[in-house]
């Protein structure tokens, strides 16, 4: 238990980590109870208020209103749920598949492993967004297909990360000892190797969440992600184009929301790296 306490204390000693944690907490609360936080929860959907169309930010509408008279601030809160859900599911499933593939390929190294890794290599020979765009364009726009495309194009990254880790760990003496004691293969993989990879996975998935939010925003922006009238940051940015440059607030605030969310995940990832992985102290050296 003391190790965990120590790690948590180290996390809170980092100012960036605390800032990130605050932003992320707000984000998660907004995602869980958007209706109770938003001043105009009706505006998450297809409400039309023609009299309040494209109003500049004011005390009544903190971030102004959009072309249908909906409160943009409320829609940003509604968008938190869509963003976190979409990116959480996509990153999570990619991580599960990729970890499994990486574990098997790294542990057995036979022709199955070789084949799996070659397939991963081919996927990784292309920036993720390119293939994701192709898949969603062919399947049809929408949140479900966006999640599917993001997960399908993201697992090879994880399998490569895990594969490299497994290769380096499985030669350690403690694995040999476990084998010599007659420990089963599954047990070695999941109870002896996997726990040693988890810190790396946690760090990378935190940063990966930020990256996935950006990728998902691109999908929405080109019209392949969330569809109107859903509250989605990328989608709102996309619909704002028709009302620029007059309605500057319409494009500004959804972009800021994306920026803050991604930055929070990146900063949290940096801090986690400092805390969990002393070997990889990239962002900071203790003085």
């Amino acid at each position: 238990m003391t190790t965990y306490k120590l790690l948590i204390r180290k996390f809170f000693q980092d100012r960036n980590g605390v800032i990130a944690l605050i932003i992320l907490s707000i984000l998660f609360v907004a995602a869980i109870i958007p209706s109770s936080l938003a001043p105009h929860p009706d505006d998450f959907g297809a409400t039309i208020n023609p009299r309040e169309r494209l109003e500049a930010p004011s005390p009544k509408h903190l971030c102004g209103t959009d072309h249908m008279g909906r409160d943009i601030f409320s829609r940003l809160i509604g968008g938190a749920r869509v963003s976190l859900m979409l990116c959480g599911i996509a990153t999570g499933s990619a991580l599960l598949i990729g970890t499994l593939v990486g574990l098997i390929a790294g542990y057995y190294e036979g022709w199955i492993g070789l084949l799996l890794m070659r397939i991963s290599d081919i996927f990784v020979s292309l920036p993720q967004i390119v293939m994701a765009l192709v898949i969603v364009a062919a399947l049809g726009a929408g949140i479900k297909n966006a999640i599917l495309a993001l997960a399908v194009t993201y697992w090879p990254f994880w399998s490569r990360v895990v594969y490299a880790d497994v290769i380096s760990i499985k030669k350690s003496p403690f694995i040999e000892a476990a084998k010599a004691l007659g420990t089963g293969t599954t047990r070695i993989m999941f109870l002896h190797i996997l726990p040693n990879i988890v810190p790396n996975i946690i760090i990378r998935s935190t940063i990966g969440m930020g990256g996935t939010i950006l990728t998902a925003a691109v999908l929405s922006y080109v019209g392949l992600g969330a569809q109107p009238p859903i509250s989605d940051w990328g989608l709102d940015l996309s619909s704002s184009r028709a009302y620029l440059p007059t309605a500057w607030w319409y494009a500004l605030f959804p972009g800021l929301a994306i920026f803050l969310a991604v930055m929070a995940f990146n900063m949290a990832g940096d801090t986690l790296r400092d805390v969990l992985d002393p070997k990889l102290r990239r962002s900071r050296k203790e003085t």
Binding site: M131, L133, A137, L214, V218, G255, K285
Partner: protein
């Protein structure tokens, strides 16, 4: 010599990867339910018209015949087929658009990388100072921004509100008839000593360039800072300091090389990132490059064009990685692997 051999080996290994890429894309798009013919023919097309288009583009043949025919065309003749959208040879489209994309992305990569190195090194030397914290804030913001949003905000600020930089395009309309020598407007205008054109091309390059440069800048600054901090603690640096070598010489001549080892591994990734960003950025700035073409062909399900731009993306990505490795070898010749 060993570098050349390594480059040749890597380029050779590129062939199976690209072939695999085309194969995966080909069968992936075949498995997906969308019908490119319906999109190309439009919603009002009759069944006969669709059948005609299907026959014209060879979609009526079995998939493996299409595949073999397609790969043969690329390998033997560099023929990527005809675009369903522009109705022209895809290879022609891409070659015509290549200089625009290269000019934009190379300029922003170079500017981002140079500035990133300077910021990262400065930040490392003044570790934990106010300036360091400021630079670290800027760099983490740089990698967290959606480049398409930055592009829109730049347009709103510098084109619409301040009116000091052009909103869209690659060069002023009345200069478009500029004679194309290389297709790179910056080089062409210098070759012809046409400084008006040079100025116009530069001013059009600024905003999309900034939007694309932010991530390379942030990434490289972060890695350069981390590398520099690590190197400055090494004993050989302490020795040089003790010998009275000036700070400037220690940093920029002796420390920098080793500090950039970690950065070099990021170059391939950054090439890929900038390339993927050009899709949307070129669209926003109506830049006549491959990125906008790629996005259009994806949205129109113009699969032959999609395969071609995927290959282009794969090639750029791999070359980026290769350049990073060459850079690594130039820094540290022990890194050559067979």
């Amino acid at each position: 010599m060993r570098i050349i051999r390594m480059v040749m080996a890597r380029l050779f290994l590129l062939i199976p990867t690209l072939l695999g890429l085309v194969t995966i894309m080909f069968f992936l798009t075949y498995c997906l339910p969308a019908d490119p013919v319906s999109v190309a023919a439009g919603p009002l097309a009759t069944l006969e018209q669709k059948a005609k288009i299907r026959k014209l583009y060879g979609f009526d043949r079995p998939i493996y015949v299409q595949y073999i025919h397609y790969v043969k065309g690329i390998v033997l003749a560099g023929d990527f087929g005809q675009s369903l959208y522009t109705h022209r040879q895809i290879s022609h489209d891409i070659i015509q658009r290549l200089p625009a994309t290269l000019e934009l992305s190379l300029c922003s990569l170079c500017m981002g990388a140079l500035l990133g190195i300077v910021l990262g090194v400065y930040s490392a030397i003044h570790k934990n100072s106010i300036v360091d914290n400021l630079i670290r804030g800027i760099t983490i913001a740089g990698i967290s921004l959606a480049s398409f949003w930055v592009a829109i905000e730049l347009q709103l600020t510098f084109s619409s509100a301040l009116d000091i930089l052009p909103l869209v395009g690659r060069i002023d309309r009345d200069l478009e008839s500029l004679r194309h020598i290389t297709g790179f407007y910056l080089i062409d205008s210098i070759l012809m000593l046409n400084f008006q054109a040079l100025l116009s091309a530069l001013s059009h390059l600024v905003l999309p360039g900034i939007a694309l440069a932010l991530v390379p800048l942030g990434t490289i600054a972060r890695f350069a800072r981390a590398g520099m901090i690590g190197v400055m603690e090494r004993t050989y640096i302490q020795y040089e300091r003790a010998m009275g070598v000036t700070q400037r010489l220690v940093i920029w001549k002796y420390a920098l090389k080793n500090a950039l080892v970690g950065t070099m591994a990021q170059i391939g990734l950054l090439f890929g990132y900038v390339l993927a960003s050009t899709f949307v950025i070129e669209k926003i700035f109506r830049w006549p490059g491959i990125g906008a073409y790629a996005l259009d062909s994806i949205l129109f399900l113009d699969y032959k064009a999609v395969f071609a731009v995927s290959l282009w993306a794969g090639v750029v990505y791999s070359i980026g990685g290769l350049l990073g490795d060459i850079g690594l070898i130039l820094i540290d010749p022990r890194e050559v692997t067979e």
